[in-house]
């Protein structure tokens, strides 16, 4: 079997709280090949961001990886030293954050924040680093990048800032970009534009991408694979095509039904009834059962395994197949 670029197995993340330990991510696994794009979808609080950040071992305290492995370029990132990790962050695996208004440091110029990233990983001159920065700014369509380099974040609009963040994520030609809700904080009118830019650049450079979003509509247009997360677990994973056309898990079905345009115009948007359980009060059995129409028997007592169901070429965690 060919080795994957990234392989996450049985990932478990816990938060150490005063009241005890909370398991935020439980038994999460997926793979990513070179140039492949994976979407992680689910409602807010499902554990998407925590999963994304755990790949480069950057979970906010008091969270920590308590189990599993993250294989990348022959190394298990849960076990390597801080120094090895530092050289992977921003270099081999880079990230794009949700809110571009908060991502850039307000007191340094764009040029400074770009050049320092290159200099943290490459032994080249400052001048060369700035030249690369200009080139990347050009790629994300920032006009007159040479002068823009000397400006501060507050002199740019939200959309422009996210372009800059994308440029920073591309500076060292990474193997993977993890984009955590890269367009959610932006004005609706430019969301598609930014998403397109990101897709175009990843395709051009054959960069792998993990796109984290609550919007199934967006991932279905951008990624080749989808992992649906619910309450810290993957409940369904497979090719985008298969999942969108023929969802297996009732939660995935609900997400698709909730997409605008899936019903006739004028009709009220569908919403999955209820809300996702808090980590502190996880229901017994399948975490989705309180919101599920099909729930019965085992659903109330046993956590369903994520396995292949029937003849479908994908995995789902549901007893009802």
């Amino acid at each position: 079997m060919m080795e994957h670029l990234l392989e996450v197995n049985n990932l478990e993340v816990k938060f150490k709280l005063r009241t005890g330990e909370l398991t935020a991510i439980d038994n999460v696994g997926f793979t990513l090949d070179k140039g492949e794009r994976l979407g992680i979808v689910g409602e807010s609080g499902a554990g998407k961001s925590v999963t994304g950040f755990s790949i480069i071992n950057l979970i906010s305290k008091p969270g920590y990886i308590s189990g599993g492995e993250i294989m990348f370029e022959g190394k298990d990132l849960t076990r390597v030293s801080e120094d090895v990790l530092r050289h992977i962050r921003g270099n081999r695996i880079s990230m794009i954050f949700q809110d571009p208004m908060m991502t850039l440091n307000p007191v340094f110029t764009i040029g400074e924040q770009m050049a320092e990233t290159i200099l943290a990983h490459k032994n080249i001159s400052r001048k060369d680093a700035l030249e690369i920065s200009v080139e990347k700014l050009r790629q994300v369509h920032i006009p007159s990048p040479e002068t823009r380099l000397n400006q501060y974040p507050h002199e740019f609009s939200g959309g422009m800032r996210q372009r800059i963040v994308i440029a920073i994520s591309l500076l060292l030609d990474p193997a993977i970009i993890i984009a955590d809700e890269p367009t959610t904080a932006l004005d609706v009118t430019i969301q598609a534009e930014i998403m397109e830019l990101l897709l175009e650049l990843c395709e051009k450079n054959d960069t792998g991408m993990i796109l984290i979003t609550h919007d199934l509509g967006v991932v279905s247009q951008v990624t080749e694979k989808i992992a649906v997360m619910y309450a810290g677990r993957i409940v369904e994973i497979g090719s985008t095509e298969n999942i969108v056309a023929n969802p297996l898990h009732p939660y995935t079905k609900g997400l698709i039904k909730a997409l605008p345009g899936s019903r006739g115009t004028g009709e009220k948007l569908y919403q999955i009834p209820g809300s996702m359980p808090n980590l502190t009060e996880m229901p017994k059995g399948c975490a989705f059962h309180p919101r599920c129409e099909l729930a019965e028997g085992e659903c109330f007592s046993k956590v369903p395994e994520l396995i292949q169901r029937g003849n479908f070429r994908r995995l789902a965690a549901c007893h009802k197949f």
Binding site: R89, G90, S94, F97, M102, N105, V107, F108, A120, H121
Partner: protein, 326 residues
Amino acid sequence: MFAFITRRIIQAVVVMLIISFIGFTIKHHVGDPVRELVGVSVKASEREALREKLGLNDPFFVQYKNFLKNAVRGDFGISYFFKKPAAQVILEKAPATLELVFASSILIIILSIPLGTYCAIKPKSILSRLIMGMSIVGVSIPVFLTAIMLIFLFSVNLHILPSYGRGETVAVFGGLWDTGFLTIDGLKHLILPVIALSSIMLPLFIRLIRAEMMEVMQTEYIKFAFAKGLSKKRIWFVHAFKNTLLPVITVGGVQLGIMIAYTILTETVFQWQGMGFMFLEAVERSDTSLLVAYLMFVGVLFVGVNTVVDIIYGLINPKVRISGTK
């Protein structure tokens, strides 16, 4: 930036006008310039003639205008006790106080930055807990008590440091300034008063820097800096530090001014012949001209320091520097 500086200076002038008005009101109601000039043994009719001649029977605002005019020229009247222009007395006493404040500020800056930063970066370490614990003790002991304990320990018991006065001073700047910085004896005399004066502000600054830095460390841009693969050193000492500095500078300017108030206590305990010591004496003697001159001088100092600090803030913060807004 130019607009920003201009605005700050106009604000400073307005504040000074308010202070001068308070100063004048005190002088107008409490002071008796006739007594300052001729003493108490002069006949009532002669006093009245003198009052008329001095313009003391003029309307309030005419007198205030004259007061302002004189104040701008540095004329605050004659000190009743020293029999010299009040401004001159202040200028003679100022170096002692300013050196005390300056030395304390330096001590506070060079200690609070590394200690506060360390406590923010390693909040759980034993050393951090120790520093934070001691800072609480430091803040809660009054300055005069700290001063007395220092004297008791280092002067009375151990006999290693002097307990009062400025020691040997040297006249510099053509005799305008007496400094204690240039002699060993002068420096030795500085040690205890400086520690006493810093004893409140240093812990406050350590706690302030720690709190600000910990808040900055929680921000998205610091997380992004980690995601870019920057070294911890760069993130702590470049990214987080510069953002920590902004709020610390603002608060710091105010605190530095407040330290002038603490000099009154410190100078009194250590018999330090500065403005603070002089101030208490002037209060006892109802030396109004001197009190008003002191008020005005400290006011200028306070407003001046804050204006300079704000301008430095503007220079560091690109938002102010470029758009002139805050």
